[in-house]
Symmetry: C2
């Protein structure tokens, strides 16, 4: 049975959401969970879930916790017994196969890279996030925030990692990989995208050229590669827009009594809909390129989001994503095509 370590002190709703998510995961999935954090707090929280003592959950004590205000560097340097660090160590030592955290994103990334280490051949791990598309199939956007200033070589590695993730986790036999830019034509873009294009063309995968911001949602690509600054902005713009649309719709719907009746009758549709655009259904963002598995959840994650992240972590750990990334990068570096460009 696979074991996933959950940083139980990380998110805005910690430890409640983390503990409840772990309980749900342990009840419904074939996975063991280690909750990492202050023992006395976690024991009390866990005891509130009936029958939790017979579930495959155990607690690992960590005396410190990283806050949202800590810089990544500070967290790594000074908080050596933080919940995220202890969780990462469990993966390094082979006690757990993956870690899930809804804490400080920068600190989780820095810790995972340092403690768990990096897959051979990967220069920089990158954060991947799945978005829903009009076609019904998800698209993997990589990088959504791990690396703010990227080189063409980094983008090429992101493409390899995203491609393999889409193949293994979303069972897509031939993902279409696009480069996020501001026009479909090759010459449209910035310095980075224009110099990345020839390199991306040398990859042994289905590179389809530039895609635009709207294509995150059209389903025109299965994997979209970008630097972490752009990817993060795209992610956050989407979050903000979903909020304002919910708000405006509610306001419009509450304006008259007829509409209110309409709202009641169509409520199920809204619940459906919210679920479909809810990031929590997608189970967090994997940091691709680190050894083992690290899944980063939104700070506001609820129990459902944590449960889904545990599911994704276990699925990832049970597959051969990292081995395939290593082999993919080795093959590509050795290829004649890339030798011509570099």
């Amino acid at each position: 049975m696979l074991t996933i370590a959950v940083d139980a002190m990380g998110g805005d709703n910690a430890p409640r959401a983390e503990v409840e998510g772990a309980v749900r995961a342990a009840r419904t999935l074939d996975t063991q969970v280690i909750l990492v954090g202050r023992k006395e707090i976690l024991e009390k929280e866990l005891a509130q879930h009936e029958g939790s003592d017979s579930l495959p959950i155990r607690i690992e004590h960590a005396s410190e916790q990283v806050t949202m205000e800590d810089s990544a560097a500070r967290a790594v340097r000074t908080k050596r017994d933080s919940s995220i660090r202890v969780a990462s160590r469990l993966v390094r030592d082979g006690i757990a196969q993956g870690v899930v955290s809804a804490g400080n994103t920068g600190a989780i990334m820095a810790t995972a890279k340092m403690v768990q280490g990096v897959v051979p051949g990967v220069d920089r791990p990158a954060l991947a996030s799945a978005f829903p598309t009009m076609k019904g199939t998800p698209v993997v956007v990589i990088d959504v925030g791990a690396n703010v200033d990227c080189t063409p070589r980094m983008l090429a590695q992101f493409a390899v990692m995203g491609d393999i993730y889409a193949r293994v986790i979303f069972r897509n036999p031939n993902p279409r990989v696009g480069l996020l830019s501001i026009g479909e034509e090759e010459h449209k873009g910035n310095e980075l995208t224009r110099s990345a294009t020839p390199l991306l063309k040398t990859l042994p995968l289905n590179f389809i050229g530039n895609v635009e911001g709207r294509d995150i949602y059209t389903g025109a690509a299965d994997v979209i590669v970008c630097d972490g600054f752009i990817g993060n902005v795209a992610l956050k713009v989407s979050e903000g827009l979903v909020e304002i649309i919910k708000f405006m719709l509610k306001e419009s719907l509450e304006a008259t009594i007829t509409r209110k009746i309409g709202y009641v009758l169509s409520k199920a549709a809204f619940t459906d809909f919210k679920k479909r655009v809810d990031y929590s259904e997608y189970g967090g963002a994997p940091l691709l390129g680190v050894k083992g598995v690290a899944i980063i959840c939104h700070g506001r994650s609820n129990a459902n989001a944590i449960k889904n992240a545990i599911r994704v972590a276990a699925e990832f750990a049970g597959s051969n994503v990292n081995r395939r990334i290593e082999n993919g990068l080795k093959e590509w570096s050795a290829s004649k095509a890339v030798a011509k460009v570099l």
Copy 2:
């Protein structure tokens, strides 16, 4: 009376949307319109609107048109009698005070810069776009696509231009100006944003530091500054997300008969809502920093979008935006604060 030149051959729905938009504008606003394009086509189109011969609309012939496939450079170099070029020339010559086009964005920008010229002190004109916010007041995002690789100095100039636009057009007495980045703290960002921050702090305006992607919609700032690559991605991501949300809501609402009844009863709310997120209500994006006025509309603009763009162009032309930009930049360049940083 102000006169606005409309490139009638530009958009996806040209010349129908352009001509109808001009008719609506001429009927409801105190503005004269010059439709620019193939005379015989425009005459025929205009004749379909009853009573249009008594409206303040005239046609200016242009034998060529720029297509969406033309590169900006090619359009400027080879199509010297294109509708956009002739329209821009009318502004240069003082016959019209502004130009509106839903054509090839790159070509419009290149043409306006070259033909109309640039406001003294501006290095690079930038495209501004208004977005709706939770607070009900619009936010001006600048640049959304004119300049893909920017320097800190360019971002500072965008801040000045956006600030003045928000003051004059949106009547905001003290706009909060934010820098689009990936975290509120100053150190969070990429090389460009980190080096732009000290410069932005020297501006004689209300600079509030970094804002995140979601803040485009929260209303945390009234002006958001970014390079044109990021801004364009943010704009297009938003368009794509609005499309998928419409699609998913419709699908969810049509799933059962009770929901269908609910849908009928709440339809007015949807119409309301669509209007509020509809870019066409915002009347296109001004290219700030060019002499005269140039308003760029979405290729898919309908008559309503064109009418609103004509309204904004007239409002812009009737104000002193360009003079204030010129003075603002002059004052800033001469200030002691900026001398210390540069």
